[in-house]
Symmetry: C2
């Protein structure tokens, strides 16, 4: 019904996560009505998808060059290593301004049902780093899901007992209500009481 | 925190309607993880924004050429003219497969608070069309909002009494419940009873 190119634009917007037909149409009509300059800036910004984003050769974080700003910061504690699933998590942890160590980005978690095996994520480079660098503590900060737990256990076994391995505390989120807390979280909160 | 180009991508996604920081980050990470071909198809599809989409010289609908497929269809009733706000509405009306006339797209409605005056939307070309072509009936199918009503009244006055001007029926939507219907809709339903 719509002209082919416009229909194609709608279909491509539908590829975005959580975007259905109606939202895609809304995006297409909205962007089409933007001023020319705004359109060009939008399309130019997307060019980064094709050019690709550099990742840090040390930790796997998104980076402007070979080494990311965190890994090249000598004021940080390079003996403290926090393992995360995605660069997004680094931003969340940095926002609390408490952690002063470095990171290692796995870029995923082990998920056998989706065919993601240990060799598909950055576990080898993690083990390399632990063997080569002087690491005192590895903090496993993966999502508390079945896949995250599996991956944490896998890494713990791999690293062995030379390094202290810790996990983030589970419990009731701040500002939460006891009666709205799911039973698994409540169980973890009881087990982790101090 | 993120590399500049990636941060820029997130900011540009935030320009889409109803997209905040979190959703924009989700879009950015998701698109970055797409396969190269999918990325290229996405970026290429957006090129239409810069190239622009043709609009029909007769009705203002989005079109692949100078005249849209509806205006060039000789099997349709060209004496019956339906006035809509946006090309989206044409798709909705076409989907009921009942209307066999042609359309006129205003590309907006009069909205003095946003500075949209009658001369900013395609009202002049509508009056031209009514004067030149043989039109028996003009159906005003604008959104039932204050701005839509204002625009409908404005057009009715402009056209004068030479042509039959009708509006879509207001009332309770099919599958709706009386007790959930707002009072204005209920009032219209009573006034329009037959």
């Amino acid at each position: 019904m719509y002209p082919n190119k416009f229909e194609n634009l709608i279909l491509k917007f539908q590829n975005l996560p959580g975007v259905g037909r109606k939202t895609a149409e809304r995006y297409a009509f909205e962007t089409l009505n933007w001023e020319q300059q705004k359109k060009e800036e939008f399309v130019n910004a997307l060019q980064v998808l094709i050019d690709g984003v550099d990742t840090c050769k040390v930790c796997g974080n998104l980076s402007d060059g070979d080494i990311c700003s965190i890994c090249s910061d000598q004021n940080r504690d390079h003996t403290l290593l926090c393992v995360v699933q995605s660069p997004k998590d680094i931003l969340a942890i940095e926002s609390i301004q408490e952690y002063k160590g470095v990171y290692h980005v796995l870029n995923g978690v082990i998920n056998t049902s989706k065919g993601i095996l240990p060799e598909d994520i950055n576990i080898d480079s993690l083990v390399d780093r632990i063997n080569k660098d002087e690491i005192n503590e590895v903090i496993l900060a993966l999502d508390p899901t079945v896949e995250g737990e599996t991956t944490s256990l896998y890494i713990e076994k791999l690293i062995g007992k030379d390094v202290l391995v810790t996990r983030l505390a589970y419990g009731i989120p701040m500002g939460g209500h006891l009666d709205y807390t799911d039973s698994l979280t409540l169980l973890k909160a009881f087990q982790g009481r101090k």
